[in-house]
Symmetry: C6
């Protein structure tokens, strides 16, 4: 973090900063950013300031820039049908509430129903994670629950479900499958690597690689474990969203009104609700 703050200082040497821009704070929220990302971040902020004919960079310039670097340019020009806006608002609120309530993920930096250049209908952006060398079983399970939260909110509130969750489902499945076949996190399957790819392994300096073919029983056991993990995460995530259904409605409505809400606005929804963090 110290390194990031130093890099930020270098890249803002010739750029006057408003008082509300706190490089120490920015360094704290950009864990995982490479040097080039940080340079990119401040350059975009300077461009934002220039567009408004300001000589100095303000906090909002940095915020806009932060989202652009992480998510891509927002695409405000597209006119979104009202039904699609509403579905997106609930979908993103589902993700966001789980990020907030579940331990070990989040906090939420911004929630938005403005379509992005990458073709997403909206986004929920957590603060970047620490750049850990490894991940934990607990954290992976929380991430799966967050992924499923968008679809669950659709199911709870709308009378129909959408294809918008396909990328979430893909990520949740990949994570659950990796737990079972690669990380030895299923008691049923044990501390065994079940990947079927062809690559050569090296065991204590000797080549003992070969192509693996799994028996049908093993393939079935893997499928069953993946489904069990997803189903349990689904049940847990649904339970939480049902508990916080009041926040869900308030969050979706605020999004429909403001299109994008930031951390403070989002977290205030919980204060009012009096909901207890798990």
């Amino acid at each position: 973090m110290k390194g990031r703050e130093d890099i930020l200082k270098i890249h803002t040497k010739n750029k006057p900063l408003s008082e509300d821009v706190n490089l120490h704070e920015i360094a704290r929220t950009t864990a995982g950013f490479a040097g080039a990302d940080l340079e990119n971040l401040m350059n975009e902020a300077a461009i934002n300031a220039a567009k408004d004919n300001r000589k100095y960079i303000i906090k909002e310039d940095v915020d806009k820039s932060f989202i652009k670097v992480g998510i891509g340019t927002e695409r405000k020009s597209r006119v979104v049908p009202e039904k699609e806006r509403k579905i997106t608002a609930y979908h993103e609120s589902g993700h966001a509430i789980l990020f907030h309530v579940l331990e070990g993920v989040g906090p939420v930096y911004a929630v938005s129903i403005i379509p992005t250049g990458q073709g997403a209908a909206g986004y929920t952006m957590p603060l970047p994670e620490n750049d850990n060398v490894f991940n934990t079983k607990g954290k992976i399970l929380q991430d799966i629950k967050v992924s499923l939260g968008g679809r669950i909110a659709e199911e709870m509130i709308m009378d129909d479900i959408t294809t918008g969750a396909s990328q979430d489902i893909k990520q949740a499945t990949a994570a659950a499958r990796a737990m079972v076949v690669k990380y030895g996190m299923s008691e049923e399957l044990g501390l065994i690597n079940y990947e079927t790819d062809n690559e050569e392994e090296t065991f204590v300096g000797r080549d003992i690689g070969h192509q693996r073919m799994l028996g049908e029983q093993t393939a079935a056991a893997i499928d069953k474990e993946v489904k069990r993990i997803i189903d349990e995460c689904y049940a847990d995530a649904r339970r939480i969203l049902e508990e916080y259904v009041g926040v869900l409605h308030k969050c979706a409505n605020l999004l429909l009104e403001k299109e994008r809400i930031d951390r403070e606005e989002f977290e205030a929804l919980f204060d009012d609700a009096g909901a207890v963090t798990e």
Copy 2:
């Protein structure tokens, strides 16, 4: 839509328009058209006018152009055997009635039994859809029913069925399968991605991709769900077409007489029939 109307204005600046050409209306019916499509549409309309030695573009010029851009040039020169014309008339009427009766799809812009350059024996053309970022489960099921409607009409009226439905069957299968393996829309299979392709996944910024091999039980469950979805859509679509069998005969006969009928002519068939929209 506003943007489309503006683009249409630009591309008709030098083209005199008849009073029956309403750019606002055209903009409404061309959702999903890119700028190039709109330019193409008006150029073709101008060519149609020129062919008739008219200085101004009339509504019919735009209509012809609209079909050409969407479906391809009609191929009137081919002499179609009477039996083939009759089968095609019922097949297209089956699609068209389902577009009209089912909620969330349609309305029908034109129905035709004029062979097209793409090798189709006819076509049913709905108004273009909104350019949604996502699709819903309800809408996909309606689309499957519409796809199956052509074959169902053949079965109900003719004493034989044709290969003409193969593309419809392919689309319906692909849609039902995607519901199950990609969009998590089958309660039986859950919110899991069952695609077996090789591509690398990225999970929250880390590579955990690997080749997936499904167990035999899972493969069987997927097959069963796909069949259940198609069979239920078939039953529903058949029930509707049997209810509207009077319109089916009238529509097919009108097609045999006029070769192509437009929205007004098509919808009038329902008024007479006194049929109630579901």
Copy 3:
């Protein structure tokens, strides 16, 4: 057909025709011929006339040319063993009788036991079909029966069966399989596409293609349906050939005597037999 007659007129402008050459009749029997095929047909006829030092084209010139364009040059030079000639005569008679008796296929233009350049021991040539955009279930079943007719005739008359039916079997299997996996013509399997290839599908403008893997139960059900279709067609075709066994002998004997018989000669065999067309 009108178009074909016109094209024929153009390509015979500079070629004197004998009175027995009827362009209207030729146009009728060349449905499915492209313009180039028709030009080819008349050029070959002119060459045939030239070979005989005639200044005008006679009907026989056109007939020879018609077979060459459709089947390939006959290869009279090869000396065929008597046993092979006899098997071929019955094999082709089996095909020909089914073409004649079954509704919706045929009529037979020529039957021959003269080996062709493509390595066939003989051929049965129906009049070209109409150039339909689609095919029907009934017509496909008749085609399968015709394909099986050659082998069935061998089984009925000869004391041995040959490898000569392998191409017929391949075609019949491909047709039966397509009925089941592509055309939704099996009630058991439903309106589902079971093709396992890799190609991307497009569903109402969105890519939802993926590689399909069928469960073992589905694969078994497909195999069973394909076998049922072939077995039923076999039984029906055999019943007919047993009914027409008198024509079968007469046809084979006439072929052994004349090597090639035309439509009139072939159909006369039925008049004598007093057989009733199904």
Copy 4:
């Protein structure tokens, strides 16, 4: 055959022939030879004559040439261990007796235990077959029996069996499998093509090709039929060789003595034995 005799006359125009060289007879025994093969045959014969400083070609020159063109040069230089010579003698005698006794194959032109350039330990050479366009089920079964005869003779006489039959087994399996999956010659499996390759089929002028996947039951049924065919051919071939065990010993002994025996010598073995041809 007439054509072959004419070609032989052309290629011997400048080569004086001994009186024992009968071109008519040579034409009779070279069915299936192309023009180039015949030219090759007479050129080799001329070379043989030249090696012996003869101005004219004698029958023996043609015989040697005939074997060289059909089998490859004999490789007399290799010293063959006595045990290997004995096994080879019985192995080839097994093939030869079945060629002679079974209807529809043979007659045997030569039997030899001289190693060939292609790495065979010996050979049994039938007269070339007619160049039929097709083959029969009866003939294929006889060919399978002949293929198995070598191994069967080993089993009957020697106390060990050899790898020398692997090519025979490969041919017998390929033939039995083709009967089942390609030629519709198994009543159990029916007139269905079960080949699993990828190639596109064309059915009455329309593409309906696709990749085939067989169910496990079908795969098992094919395996069972192939085994049944081979096992029945084995039993039949063994019965015959046990009946002719006297000829088997005489033939093997004559081969050990003379290394190569011709048709007359071979057939004489049966006269003495008084064995009845099946």
Copy 5:
């Protein structure tokens, strides 16, 4: 070893050595190092000395160099979160204790929680093994237990498990699988090679290679044996770590304090504990 000492002498001819540098000792601990590795080792040591402006190489220079050549440069600059440091400390202690306690592996040269250039969070470095031509079943089982030790320590002490064991799991699985399919070390499966790859084999000078397809029963038996081996190794390794849980805590705490501990420091932990080596 004599050879290595000679090579070391050559590469230190022009480099003054401190008295604590014992080339004989270094030769003993570098079994398996090629000549280039040894040259590399001493050059790095010289560079380390130069960095400290020393004219002579001391033991610490060689130690640092030894780790760099074997593991890669340490990456001290990265700031590691405290939770990650603790997990890593227990993970590496788990490996290290098993290296020490199990017969036939180890001794441990160094244990560290300093991240490395290769992306590892820490490392446990045994003395290099002798360069044996083969490995034993007993040694492979010990290696598997060592591999599993990191994850087991996580499970025992922390309230969560991490993805950090994925490489350990991959190695343990590859080793267990090789025991079963390649080294004939499973009584259940016997002295049979079950590798399914395509490569051609040569048997006593003859090619008998072919593609192998294993039956489902065999595939299941292999999966079961691999799981049995891993599960038994897991149970044994866990039993040991539970016995040495006191050393585990002390080792982890020392690592958190000093970041890297050497052989003497590590082994001293056992003296205090009074634990008996198995």
Copy 6:
């Protein structure tokens, strides 16, 4: 053999030979050597003589050369740990005793525990086989037993088994599998080729090749037969080595003492033991 003696004479024309060099004897022991191998053999022998500053080649020069051509250069420089030397001595003694005792294989030319350039820990070298065109079932079974002998000796004497048998296991498996799938040497599976590769077959001059897919039952039956063959060979080889356990110890001890023993030394071990050759 005569040919080899002649070739040896040519390649020793300019090389004086000691009286103990017997070209006739060398020719007898080099069956299977090509001309180039023989030239290579004598050139190496001449080089060996030159190294000792001798003008003439002695028998030992030829012996060394013979091993180098057959096995590769010995690598005496590597220092082998005592445990590895002992395992290797028993492993090679196991191979050697089976070569000697079993009929139809051997005799043993040399046994050694000197590592070779190809990475083997030792070798047992039989006299080269005759260059047979084929192999027998009996001989293949003996070869399998010899292959398994190394591992069996390890199991009997040492308290651990090694990976050193992996190449032996690979060869034994390939041989047993070929017996079943290629050579028709399993009564259970019959005279059928079960290879699954893709290559085109030619049956009596016609292409009937196609890709083979085996049913699961067949695959299981093949696996079972391969295991039965290996298990029976294992039992037989173990029985023999237990009978000759005295020779096994003497042979291993002699190898540990002398590193390489020749035919005479090896065979003398049996005289003393008074063991009866099977």
